[in-house]
């Protein structure tokens, strides 16, 4: 239905509509402001297209917009996200090469190859124990944990608020100013 009316308006502007249909359309437009607006819009477009007039734009139009955007206040700190270099592929390749080398060398050796298998959990324990200790010390000395202890004694908001992060006031104040 809508498409039909749009088509009629288009035909009317192109002077392709029959007189009785034109009268019907104009009557409908008269009673319907939306249609009237549409007719005006179509006429304007038609005029612009037929006249081939080009509106000149100032040369600095684009640069003005770019400047305007750069002057806009930033509410979130910009974080330079650089993709971390992944050594996984290299490590996997190295592991494959060493495995192939072992398999090739194995039949030529008379003595059986002794392999000390270290369980993954032991490995993890060896590699991460100092890290765990370090993390514990860090956690203990973390000022935020300490301030959360004070807050827990001060009021009950720590229970209803999942992430209470204390920050230097100077940071939050400048954030608010921005």
């Amino acid at each position: 239905m809508v498409d039909d009316i749009n088509q009629k308006i288009s035909c009317f502007i192109d002077d392709e509509l029959k007189s009785n249909e034109t009268l019907d359309l104009l009557k409908e437009c008269q009673s319907n402001p939306t249609l009237q607006n549409k007719l005006n819009r179509y006429q304007t477009i038609s005029y612009c297209l037929s006249s081939k007039k080009v509106l000149p734009i100032r040369e600095d139009f684009l640069s003005n917009i770019q400047q305007g955007i750069s002057k806009d206040p930033l509410y979130f700190s910009t974080v330079n996200l650089q993709p971390k270099k992944s050594y996984r592929t290299l490590m996997a390749l190295a592991a494959c090469v060493s495995l192939i080398a072992i398999l090739i060398l194995k039949p030529s050796e008379e003595t059986p190859l002794k392999v000390n298998i270290v369980s993954s959990s032991t490995m993890a324990a060896i590699t991460t124990q100092p890290e765990i200790d370090q993390q514990k010390t860090k956690q203990k000395n973390n000022p935020n944990n300490r301030f959360n202890d004070y807050l827990q004694a001060h009021n009950t908001s720590l229970y209803t608020n999942t992430a209470v992060t204390f920050q230097p006031y100077t940071q939050t104040a400048s954030y608010k100013q921005n």
């Binding site: 300490r146 004070y150 999942t162």
Partner: protein
């Protein structure tokens, strides 16, 4: 309003916007004669269930299989804390009737609470016209920006509600008690607070243990009814930063005197924290 908060049985969903973090929880308030209980269930991670029976707050962290039982010296509501006597508050706050609005599909009357000095925050409270319950509260910083919001998104008032309890007989459940009940006389404190904004009075002075150790900390709580300030006295620790720390409406400052350090923390503007900190001194023997 105070009587309604304590004596009615009601339940609903509450949204807490604090410290730029949004948390929504199911809220139940059960009351029977003089006994009341607040029961909260988090709707989002970390999943936790909180119970407040008078001054004892129990918080069960379901994922961590850990329960913290905090024995507080006074009871405080999770929704709003109001002064006992509003008439006394007129010396420090201007109370005005605001617009009438709808919160959680219920008609409310807005009360504007504006401080007469720069030592406290302005607030707005939306009070349910029928049951006189606070359905929404907003706290504003000195520039007029909202720094804290608590709001019911739906509320039902019931004739009665059952009192809940947390099941402690769960396998591998870690129970941690936080005792803060060693009440002391303030006269025996080694320090004095010379700068106290008008209207702030001592709520309690206690000795407690903190930071997961047996370190003794003394805690003085001051309040004007709406806002409160804590002063912690403990042994000096170099790891605690001296600059002002903020989290939403809460500001904190550390002051070191001799071998002691004082942590001043409160839901008050920075100016109040600095004013109180400047007035802390050690008593002369």
């Amino acid at each position: 309003m105070q009587a309604s908060i304590k004596t009615l049985n009601y339940q609903g969903t509450v949204v807490f916007l604090k410290n730029n973090t949004l948390d929504s929880m199911k809220y139940f308030h059960a009351a029977n004669e003089d006994v009341e209980q607040e029961h909260l269930l988090s709707l989002n991670s970390p999943v936790r269930e909180i119970l407040r029976n008078a001054d004892k707050v129990s918080c069960l962290f379901k994922d961590l299989k850990k329960i913290e039982i905090n024995h507080l010296p006074t009871h405080r509501s999770f929704i709003i804390n109001l002064p006992k006597d509003f008439n006394q508050q007129t010396a420090y706050y201007d109370f005005k009737l605001g617009e009438q609005a709808q919160v959680a599909l219920l008609p409310t009357q807005v009360i504007l609470i504006k401080p007469k000095d720069a030592f406290r925050y302005a607030r707005k409270i939306w009070i349910d016209k029928h049951h006189k319950l606070p359905l929404k509260t907003e706290v504003y910083d000195p520039t007029g920006a909202i720094i804290e919001q608590v709001m019911f998104t739906e509320l039902k008032v019931k004739k009665s509600l059952p009192f809940a309890s947390i099941n402690l007989n769960v396998a591998h459940l870690k129970i941690k008690h936080i005792h803060q009940t060693g009440l002391q006389a303030l006269e025996k404190a080694v320090f004095t607070v010379n700068n106290v904004p008008q209207g702030f009075k001592e709520v309690f002075f206690i000795q407690m243990q903190m930071h997961g150790s047996k370190q003794s900390v003394k805690h003085l709580l001051l309040s004007d009814g709406f806002s409160s300030v804590s002063i912690y006295q403990e042994a000096q620790d170099e790891t605690v930063p001296l600059e002002i720390q903020s989290a939403g409406s809460v500001n904190s400052l550390v002051k070191r005197i001799g071998k002691l350090q004082f942590v001043i923390m409160g839901d008050v503007p920075v100016k109040t924290i600095q004013f109180i900190a400047n007035g802390i001194s050690l008593k002369t023997p």
